[in-house]
Amino acid sequence: MAQPALALRDLVKTFGATRALDNANLVVERGAIHGLIGQNGAGKSTIIKILGGLYKADSGSVTIDGQTLTHVSPRAIEHLGIHIIHQEALLVPSFTVAEALFLGAEPGIGPLLSRRTMRKRAEDIIGSYFDMMLPRDALIGELSAAHRQIVQITRALLNRPAVLVFDEPTASLVRREAHRLFGLIRRLRDEGTSIVYISHYLEEVQDLCDKVTVLRNGRDVATLDPRDTPLQDIVSLMINREIGDMFPKSAVPIGKPALSVQGLTRRGHFTNVDFTLHAGEILGLTGLVGSGAKEVLAAIFGLAPADQGSITTHGKQGAVGSPAGAIRRGLGLVPEDRRGQGIALDMSVRENTTLASLGKLTRFGFISRRREAETVRQLIARLGIKTPGPDARVRDLSGGNQQKVVLAKWLSAASDIYLLDEPTVAIDVAAKVEIYRLLGDLAQRGAAVLILSSDLLELQGICDRILVLHRGRITHRLRPADTTPEEILAAATGAAGLGESIAA
């Protein structure tokens, strides 16, 4: 067999307590389109960042065209013909198209092409591969997402790449543009370029790829031919089943509506989102990156308000214009970016816990130390926060305990509608179970819980109902007892047949 164009072997990468990659392999044959799929957090972007030289692997090897690299840097891999089209176009918005194309390729030095020849070549490439003209003086910032991607691809093609890596290339494209991209990718393959295609839209992958590697929990669990494998089997491979029974379920009577959302729309993100969350209920929300699920939470919490629609809390309808307004209505958000939005790392457990509720602990503006200490002591005990003491810096706590501090902040503020965004990401299994127990406990005490998660077993395990968002719309409303993680994932990826689908 011919030497593979690209081989990543036994990659291990840990972030703190989390093992993002656990002996992951990816071997790409020459002249093939190789798909890389997995759920959010399976390790897809970590692999690409290691290949791109942005992260350094703890162990493992990167072999390009038979040559094993000792040091992976962006420059080294480009030199060996690997080019990555990143999800977020890494282009300077204030540059012109021409400047962006030639950034880093200074003309006239050594054997490099002269600027004039390169410009000619760029125009040829854009003309022949994309059948269009891009004004070379247009600013990158003025271009559409699709055109920015064309600039990125053209930049890569100028260097005659051996391997071209696409990271979620259709996330920001409309269907017509995506189809054009697929045509381009097939043509490049036919011309001998190897392609790595990362996506979580399964039908795209099935339609386009010659081989597919499935990642799960940082491991490559299978490499298969997507044309011979039923979609359902691929879905099963993607789902993590190693956790076992860890969901302390308890039946809680469902109470009055706590949060009701009607016709919520934010252009470009989500459309006509309707649901009602009741006291005592845990409602799950899931969707792929770019499905709009995250933006729905942001709209409810007043971070990025919706354009249309209404939000009703406890029977009172009104716009939520800021987090402060949301908090006054009883909402509390446990954000995915815990360190940037949830807790102040350099402040103490005590200060973080009472951050959103100082108003209740002050008299004439002065903080009552006794009442503050008492509140914090109770919450540390109730949530089982493992900390050297109330005055320890939150930075020194583990991820799971930091997450509990965020919950403590909202408990202290007496919130009764909890919005959680990927609450168990980067938390070890034992702490996960504790978080589930705490959420169940909250529901038991009459709080309403809305949890956005990509962990489908988690959703099935703790939720009373699950909403699936696909391309900005709620396409499925499922009951955990009547569904399977496979069905949820199929719905989220659009493979379930409902909703829009690119390859259909």
Binding site: G16, P323, R339, D346, L358, T362, I367, L397, S398, G399
Partner: protein, 327 residues
Amino acid sequence: MSASVPMGRPIGAQLVRVTTPAALIALFLIFAAISPTFRTPGNILHILVNNFSLPALVALGMTLVISAGGIDLSVGVAADIAAMLAVTLMEHGSGLGLSLIAGIGGALVVGLLDALLITVFGISPFLATLGVLFIGESVQQLATNGGTPIYLVSNYPAAGLDYLAHGQILGLPLTLWLVALAVVLVQVLLSSTAFGRHLRAIGAEPRVAWHSGLPVRRTTWLVYLLSALLCGLAGLLLSATVKSYVPLSGNAFMLDAIGAVFVGTTISREARPNVLGTLLGVFFFGMLHNGLLLIGWNFYWQQVAIGLLVFIVLGISFLSRRLQTAD
């Protein structure tokens, strides 16, 4: 992202916190050894009143501002505007009280302008207060025919002004009492009030503060107003001492105040601005100005020496911090 495991504090982390006090003591001993005049009680009091009090008021305000994640380059303007208004009014026969209140009012306008630019227009504190600094300097020059000082010669409330500058309560100068009052005010605000907790959270993690529903704008307004208030007070005390208003004279406060706050952060475990550290920082600068003068260095070499010493203190501090956090 790095692991969040608890770790023991290396000795370097403890050492860094004594850098500033150690430098302060060492300098004191050096000056005392070289200059007999330096170590007299009279001179120490002189340092406290003339080299310490007014910069301390400004630096206390700056401590609040920097704690809240901002910076205030317009402190000199607030001090000068207060002095300009008060002196002009007194020169035209207004009473002491009215003149002082007008002066403070002028300083507060400067703070309002800072806060307006920062909270409403979203301009970064550095640029907003830099803009106010430029405007404030021009206003003073326009109002004084290009910078002519205004002297109080006749027809002004001399007795009241004298008391402000040289009065004593229980044997201590009034100025020091005012500094003590400001110290208590800022310390209590920072450590015991919701306002202080909020401003520190806003300074440490603005996005966490926003996500936690804190009154970010209101807090920011108050911070810049308080800073302007303290600067205005310093400006009034300065004009009372020199019986005049010298345009742009408040600018000297700005760099010393910023320097003092940052030197002061070195004594805090979390490298936070803090009242005690700021006071040490101000004293450090005040003692340097006074001591270098007494051992006979000329003014320009004094500036070089002060610059070098600040580099050394901050350098040692940040270097050991980097060693501490490297993993």
